[in-house]
Every structure is written in C-alpha cells, then in structure tokens.
C-alpha cells in the first residue's frame, strides 16, 4: 500500500508536534541542557592517519589493552570504581566498566608506526596509514 504525500506529511507533523512538546517540557529554561551522555569514543580521518580517542577517566595503562592487526583496531578497558575508605556514599553515578571495542578501519594501517598516549583520562591512538593507503592528489592531464 503506497502512502500518499499527505500521509507522510501528517506522520512527520505528528512527530514534530511531539518533539516540540517534549522540548517545551524538558527545556523550559534558557539553557539547552543536554542530558545525554558525555561523548565517549571518536574516530577521525586525518588523511595520513586515523586518530581514535576514547574517554577512560581514572585509568592507567595497566587497565588498557590495545591491538592492531591488519586494519582492525581492538581496544579493551576495565575500570573498577571503589568508594574511598571510611566514607559513606551519598551519590554514585560514576560506574565501573569493562568493554572491548573493535573497529575495522577503511584503510591499511602501519602497525609499526601506531602510537598510543594516555592523557587526562583520554586514550588517544594514532594509526598511521601504510604508504599505499596515504591520500594522494590526482592531477588532471
């Protein structure tokens, strides 16, 4: 059954109204308060390399395992959050976590030149592309 254009409009209009109602009730104050989660992992393409960054607050290198195989990057992290000795907990939002993420990168990586650093609770991995995968400018003859 094909929906007519009018049907589409009406459906989207209903969703739009719902969204506006929601925004009005949640975002009543001036500030657009994003109640979403703090962004976690990012992967960007800098041409010569990929850069992967993930938030791992409070972790040290012992809590992390990084593997690069062909063009697959695998990162594993583990955090245990223990309350400090002699304190009662009034609020607990910072969760412990244990995860393993694997990414298939869209270009071949030079494993030898891949480097990782851990600063301010962010793990940053620079994955240099192999020479044949480097971007190149094609000139028009």
């Amino acid at each position: 059954m094909w929906m007519t254009w009018n049907d589409f409009d009406r459906h989207f209009a209903a969703i739009d109204t719902l969204r506006r109602e929601l925004e009005r009730s949640v975002g009543g104050t001036r500030r657009s308060r994003n109640l979403g989660r703090w962004p976690e992992a990012t992967l960007i393409d800098e041409g010569e390399r990929f850069v992967f960054a993930v938030d791992v607050p409070g972790l040290t290198q012992d809590d992390l395992v990084i593997d690069v195989h062909n063009s697959t990057l695998t990162v594993a992290a583990r955090r245990a959050v223990t309350p400090p000795e002699g304190f009662a907990t009034l609020r607990s939002e910072r969760a412990g976590f244990e995860w393993k993420k694997s990414f298939s990168l869209p270009a071949k990586i030079d494993g030898e030149k891949t480097a990782a650093s851990l600063d301010d609770g962010v793990l940053t991995i620079r994955l240099e592309k192999l020479p044949e995968a480097q971007p190149r400018r094609i000139s028009i003859a």
Binding site: V51, T89, A95, D120, G121, V122
Partner: protein
C-alpha cells in the same frame, strides 16, 4: 529555532551549544564531603570551580579533538561545555575547599567546619 516558537520571550544563547553534565560521586565522613567527578579530556586551565553563597558550580570546556573540517568516522570530536551545580550545606568550611584534577578525575574536598563535626559529649554521673 524551536525556542523562538515555544518561548518567544525567552533569552536564547548566542551560540546553541549543548552543555554536558559530568558523572559525579558524592561521599562523606565526619571530616568532609568528597565530590568526585569524571572529567576526561579536561585540563585544569579549562576547568572552573566557583562558590557563591551555597552554590558550588563546576564548569568548563572540553576542547575539540580535531578541526571542524576533519572527517569524523564515528563519535564526536567537537568541543563542548560542561556544568554541574551543587548546593553546599552550611556545615562546610568554604575557605578550606581543595580540588585536584588527575587523569581526568576531579576530587573536590569540602571539609566540615570544626564546630559542626560530630562529637560525643561525655556524661558525668553525679551521686
């Protein structure tokens, strides 16, 4: 855009940027309140902690991972602001509040006033 339609008289931010709320743990013992916040990617120069009356505000900016025109395959990478506001009980000695930021984790120590620390009153018995 939709702010105009629903609240024509509300003031709008000049730049519509989302403000993130960091995850926070709060602990207490008889000496202090301890606030621990996850602030990955934030350095002390990008963090402000302000106390006004009984409102403690933790706020700042996390810088971008890359420039606007770098292709993002996954996730964010953009700069954003963060903010969290707490109401601090009177029992806290504001002059003695200390903060440390290490490995993307903020530890805020709010010591109790000496006089408000719990104390046991010893009872003398007479006769």
């Amino acid at each position: 855009m939709s702010t105009e339609m629903t609240h024509p008289s509300a003031s709008e931010p000049v730049v519509d940027r989302p403000i993130m709320s960091p995850a926070v743990d709060v602990f207490e013992n008889q000496d202090e309140l301890l606030i621990v916040a996850d602030l990955p990617g934030v350095t002390s120069d990008a963090l402000s902690i302000d106390l006004e009356d009984d409102r403690l505000t933790i706020h700042g900016r996390r810088k971008a991972l890359c420039s606007e025109d770098t292709p993002v395959l996954m996730g964010g990478g953009r700069a954003f602001d963060f903010k969290r506001v707490f109401t601090i009980p009177d029992a806290v000695d504001a002059d003695k509040i200390t903060a440390e930021l290490t490995g993307g984790v903020l530890q805020l120590h709010l010591p109790r006033h000496e006089r408000t620390k719990p104390r046991r009153i010893s009872v003398q018995s007479n006769g």
